[in-house]
Amino acid sequence: MTTYTPEKLTRDEMAQQVAADIPAGAFVNLGIGQPTNVSNFLTADQGVTLHTENGMLGMGPVATGEDIDEDLINAGKIPVTELPGASFFHHADSFAMMRGGHLDVCVLGAFQISEAGDLANWHTGAEGAIPAVGGAMDLAIGAKQTWVMMSLFTKAGESKLVKELSYPVTGLGCVSRIYTESAVFELRDSTVFVRSTHGISFEDLASRIPVALERA
C-alpha cells in the first residue's frame, strides 16, 4: 500500500525515515551532504556501525571542542570521533570493503536516477566543468543496497527520476531506494514502486514523473 501524508517531508524527516529503515546491526556508509544527516537519527539500539571511505569502521559523531583531531576525519574531511570497537585500515583495504559488498547500505545524493536504478551524481557534464569523482563510483556499486536521498524535482520543476540518464553515469543498476520530499520509491523487479507520497497524490505524482509507477 502506498501511504500518504499531506505535507512534504522536511530534510530532517527524510533523514529520519532513512535512519528508521536501516536494519539493526547494519554496516553503513553515509555519503557527503544530506546523507550525513542520517547519523543524527540512528538510535543506539539499532547498533549500526558507520564506515568512512578514508579508512575507519565505528565512526562516531562530529567532533567538537577538544575532541577535534586532524588525524580523525570523515570522507567530507570533517573532524569526527571514534566509538568503542572502531578499527582503522588503509585505503586499499577500505575500498576493498566497499567494492567487495561487505557494507549493508550506502546512502548517497543524486542528480538523476533512471528507472533501471542507474545513478548519476558525480558530474553535471556541463561544458568547462572540472570533473571530480572521489569515492562516488565505488560507493554506488559496492554496498549490498544503495539508497538515494534527493529532491525529486529540479528548480525548473523537472523530475530527477527519469527513463534514461542525461547526466553522466556513476553506476549502472545500483539504486534500490529513493527518498525525496514528495515520495519514497523502491526499485525492484524492474519496476518503480511508490512506497509513500507526501503533499502530493499518487496520481499527481504519476503525472509529473516520466516513468511508469506502481503502488507499493
Binding site: 546491526g25 569502521l57 570497537g85 576493498a96 570493503m97 567494492r99 567487495g100 561487505h102 557494507l103
Partner: protein
C-alpha cells in the same frame, strides 16, 4: 551486525551444509582451527569443496575429513607431504578432485574475492603447467596469467582474540590466511582463545575488522 558468540565449536559450525565451499586457515599447525575442523567432522556435512594451503596431515583434522570422503574437491598449493597419506590414497583412487594453485596466487585469489575484484593478471605460474588453459598476456614485456577470485560459503579461522564486535587479532605466523579468508566467505566462523569486551582491542591494532566476522567461539588456549 555483531557476531554470534557460539557456545561450542559444534554450535559454531552447525550451519555448514552439504556441498559448501569452506576456506580453512592455517599453514602447518600455525593458525589451523583444529577444533572447528573436528566439529565439522562431527557435524556430518559432506560433498565439501575445501580451500587450504595443504591437504591434511597425519590422522587429524582435514586429513580425517578426506579419509572419510567428505571432501569432493580441494584447492591448495601443497598437498603432498610426508604424512599426507589420506589425501594420497583418496587422490590415487580418483575420489578427490585437486586444483593445485601456487601459494601466492591462492592468497591473492582469496583476497580478490573479498575485495570484489573480478580477476587479475599475475606473473606467478606464467609458462608453467599450472597456467595451462588459462588466459595469458604480455604486459610491458612480462608474461602474466589471468586468475579468478575464490569465493566461499564459509571460512574456518583461528585467531588469538576477538572483541564482542568481532574485531580480531592474531598471533605471530598463525595470522597467515586468516585475515583474507575472513573477507572471502559469506560466513566467517572464528575460534579464539578469548573474547574480550568491546574496547579491549586498540583500533590501530585490529587485523580483521568485525564486519568480516559472523560467528565467534572462545575455546581458551595454550598461549
Amino acid at each position: 551486525m555483531a557476531p554470534r558468540i557460539a557456545t561450542s565449536a559444534a554450535d559454531a559450525v552447525a550451519q555448514i551444509t552439504d556441498g559448501s565451499t569452506v576456506l580453512i586457515g592455517g599453514f602447518g599447525n600455525a593458525g589451523q582451527p583444529m577444533e572447528l575442523i573436528d566439529a565439522l567432522m562431527q557435524c556430518g556435512a559432506t560433498d565439501l569443496t575445501v580451500v587450504n594451503n595443504n591437504a591434511g596431515q597425519a590422522d587429524a583434522g582435514l586429513a580425517l575429513l578426506i579419509k572419510e570422503r567428505r571432501v569432493k574437491k580441494i584447492i591448495c598449493s601443497f598437498p603432498r607431504q610426508s604424512d599426507s597419506w589420506h589425501f594420497d590414497e583418496a587422490y590415487r583412487a580418483g575420489e578427490i578432485e585437486l586444483e593445485l594453485v601456487p601459494q601466492g596466487n591462492l592468497a591473492e585469489r582469496i583476497r580478490a574475492a573479498g575485495a570484489g575484484i573480478g580477476g587479475f593478471f599475475t606473473p606467478t605460474g606464467y609458462g608453467t603447467l599450472l597456467a595451462e588453459g588459462k588466459e595469458t598476456r604480455i604486459i610491458d614485456g612480462r608474461g602474466y596469467v589471468l586468475e579468478s577470485p575464490i569465493h566461499a560459503d564459509f571460512a574456518l579461522i583461528k585467531a588469538l582474540r576477538a572483541d564482542t564486535h568481532g574485531n580480531l587479532v592474531y598471533r605471530k605466523t598463525a595470522r597467515n590466511f586468516g585475515p583474507i579468508m575472513a573477507t572471502a566467505a559469506a560466513q566467517a566462523i572464528v575460534q579464539v582463545d578469548e573474547v574480550v569486551p568491546v574496547g579491549g582491542i586498540d583500533p590501530e591494532n585490529v587485523i580483521t575488522p568485525g564486519i568480516y566476522v559472523d560467528t565467534v567461539v572462545a575455546l581458551g588456549g595454550s598461549n
